[in-house]
């Protein structure tokens, strides 16, 4: 069933891309935008540690670059994977710009938005992911949240498969340590 839905999704993507390249019309672009932007934005938000402005900038740059390069896209991966790769590159460029500005606002906006949530566990996990160094966070988000394989991550991030595996192992350890600290604090409060 999953394969069928993936196949149908890819078939729809191919049709939309073909129509868009033939007509260059706004309506077809908007259809593509609505199919993929929610997932791209979610990915960008996590890679940007919930900096809403950076995530939107990354999504905007993604579409501008993707549409410019769409004619050259050869369907060697799904359209979603290709777009995600562009989003990742945009986010990495934004990290570098941010580093130059020394303007870190880790998880600030996410915490504000979800401060009233009842179930704190996912939020703690999000905070732990957001606090990871960029390299660890990219691999962990792509593997454990987005479901990419190490081979796909290797292509997306232009790193060795072994590097992807080692980054993931270290990222998971960091997240576990962070969650352990949260759990201990929570236990102390109850005592």
């Amino acid at each position: 069933m999953k394969i069928l839905s993936k196949y149908l999704a890819q078939r729809a993507d191919r049709r939309l891309v073909r129509n868009f390249l033939a007509r260059r019309d706004e309506q077809t672009f908007r259809a593509l935008y609505h199919r993929h932007t929610p997932a791209l934005y979610q990915l960008a938000l996590r890679l940007a540690s919930w900096n809403v402005h950076e995530a939107e900038e990354a999504v905007q740059d993604t579409w501008l670059r993707a549409i410019e390069a769409l004619e050259k896209f050869r369907w060697e991966s799904s359209l979603r994977t290709w777009l995600s790769g562009i989003t990742i590159n945009c986010c990495r460029e934004l990290y570098r710009q941010r580093a130059r500005r020394s303007d870190e606002r880790v998880a600030e906006q996410y915490v504000q938005e979800d401060a009233t949530t009842n179930d704190c566990e996912p939020l703690d996990l999000e905070q732990a992911i957001a606090a990871l160094p960029n390299g660890y966070r990219q691999v962990l988000v792509l593997h454990d949240v987005e479901g990419y394989t190490h081979e796909e991550i290797s292509r997306l991030l232009d790193i060795e498969v072994g590097t992807s595996k080692s980054q993931l192992a270290r990222a998971r350890r960091s997240v576990r340590e962070a969650l352990q600290v949260v759990a201990e604090k929570s236990a102390n409060r109850r005592i």
Binding site: F29, Q42, Q60
Partner: protein, 199 residues
């Protein structure tokens, strides 16, 4: 270092937590408009809407069975003389089509007339979409903090919104020409023409 050791893998509880992570965040609504504008400015999206792949909506016949004609404010002669479509940029307009309670019985011969009109508008690259709305709408409002919901009673309302067409036109007068040519008017319907404010 063996990276596939068990302690490096997610246990079922951890996997559950990752699965439970939120996927509900959406970008600001303005982002889409910003991207479309940028793509137009770069020439990657045409300024003029492309020829639509469009078929007349199934409800065209229903409008032919339209109701008693309520006063229309369309002064045809006025706009026919005043139109000067010099602009190249296209604007989007919505034609809201209203019925009234005295709808005559459906007449299949009028379906062809609606279809012909819609096809003609489509061929002139102006039609983008059109849909019939189902009966049984409700009006919602808040009165002193309390939500009030009222059924739209087709039998007694003077005008009932029945469907819409989304069209592209060079300017308001151009869109008015399209609206005035709709057979819905001929059979007693009312059309409200509004331009979409593309912020």
């Amino acid at each position: 270092m063996n990276h596939t050791q068990n302690h490096d893998e997610l246990n079922p509880e951890e996997r559950k937590k990752f699965t439970a992570l939120s996927r509900r965040h959406s970008p600001a609504a303005t982002l889409e408009a910003r991207i479309v504008s940028a793509l137009k400015a770069q020439g990657h999206i045409q300024m003029t809407p492309a020829p639509p792949i469009w078929t007349p909506p199934r409800w065209a016949g229903a409008f032919a069975a339209a109701l008693v004609f309520l006063a229309l404010g369309f002064g045809l002669g006025k706009w026919q003389s005043g139109t000067s479509p010099q602009q190249t940029r296209h604007h989007l307009f919505v034609l809201f089509l209203y019925d009234s309670p005295e709808t005559p019985p459906d007449d299949i011969s009028k379906v062809a007339e609606y279809s012909g009109w819609a096809r003609q508008i489509g061929m002139s690259k102006r039609m983008i979409s059109g849909e019939k709305l189902k009966d049984g709408g409700r009006l919602l409002r808040q009165v002193r903090g309390q939500l009030e919901i009222r059924e739209v009673r087709e039998a007694t309302e003077p005008h009932v919104l029945g469907g819409y067409f989304l069209i592209a036109a060079e300017n308001y007068d151009d869109a008015l020409k399209v609206a005035a040519s709709c057979p819905h008017l001929k059979y007693g319907g009312l059309i409200e023409l509004r331009e979409i404010d593309q912020i």
